[in-house]
């Protein structure tokens, strides 16, 4: 599963730590989600989407093998 979190974060001018602080997760969570090494729970996905005022579907994109 691909995601657009890094793009949204950079557009907002935030560091990984600032985004992590904003949604109460560890910086490693943001780092590994951005690189698609960790698939977050629905709760974290919704928190990120709410923070960027967008939908989960616009942040996360399913691939054919998912």
């Amino acid at each position: 599963m691909q995601n657009q979190i890094a793009q949204y974060r950079k557009q907002a001018g935030l560091s990984q730590q600032q985004l992590a602080d904003a949604i109460n997760v560890s910086r490693k969570t943001i780092s590994t989600v951005e690189t698609s090494r960790f698939t977050p729970s629905v709760i974290i996905a919704l928190k990120i989407a709410h923070y960027f005022n967008t939908s989960v579907e616009s942040l996360f994109v399913l691939e054919l093998d998912d």
Partner: protein, 140 residues
């Protein structure tokens, strides 16, 4: 959950990983030393004891371990909890393979290695794999 709690957890798991690796090296040394020196006396009191004490002291001074976290076996942060669980699984699998290897080849070195030494090797494998797994999974 407060952000401070998450930062404490991040710090704790990182220190925990390095502590596991250090302890694995210590146990490995304590296991190999008597074999190399052809003696039954492990250097616990003279070497391992002070090393263990100094390590624990350094970790406490660095505030990586807080007493409140010492007996908590889960992390509140989702990612840290996931990698911790996976590290335990890796550790268990590695131990299973190691015990399997010992079971199939133990006759070759049964006379020269005591049960106590083998126990130290088992602990070494578990600690080493746990520490490396945590560090590998939490890489940027």
């Amino acid at each position: 959950m407060k952000q401070q709690d998450i930062k404490t957890e991040e710090k704790f798991i990182s220190h925990n990983a390095w502590f596991s690796i250090f302890m694995a090296c210590t146990f490995l040394f304590a296991g190999v030393y008597p074999i190399l020196k052809q003696t039954n006396t492990a250097p616990w009191l003279s070497t391992v004891g002070p090393l263990l004490f100094i390590t624990i002291l350094i970790i406490f001074i660095a505030k990586g371990f807080s007493l409140s976290r010492l007996f908590v076996f889960t992390y509140k942060d989702e990612f840290l909890n996931t990698i911790d669980t996976l590290a335990y699984k890796h550790s268990g699998i590695a131990l299973s393979f190691f015990i399997g290897g010992v079971y199939t080849t133990s006759d070759r070195f049964a006379d020269s290695v005591s049960h106590a030494t083998m126990a130290m090797f088992y602990i070494t494998v578990m600690l080493l794999v746990y520490g490396i797994s945590i560090l590998w999974q939490s890489r940027d």
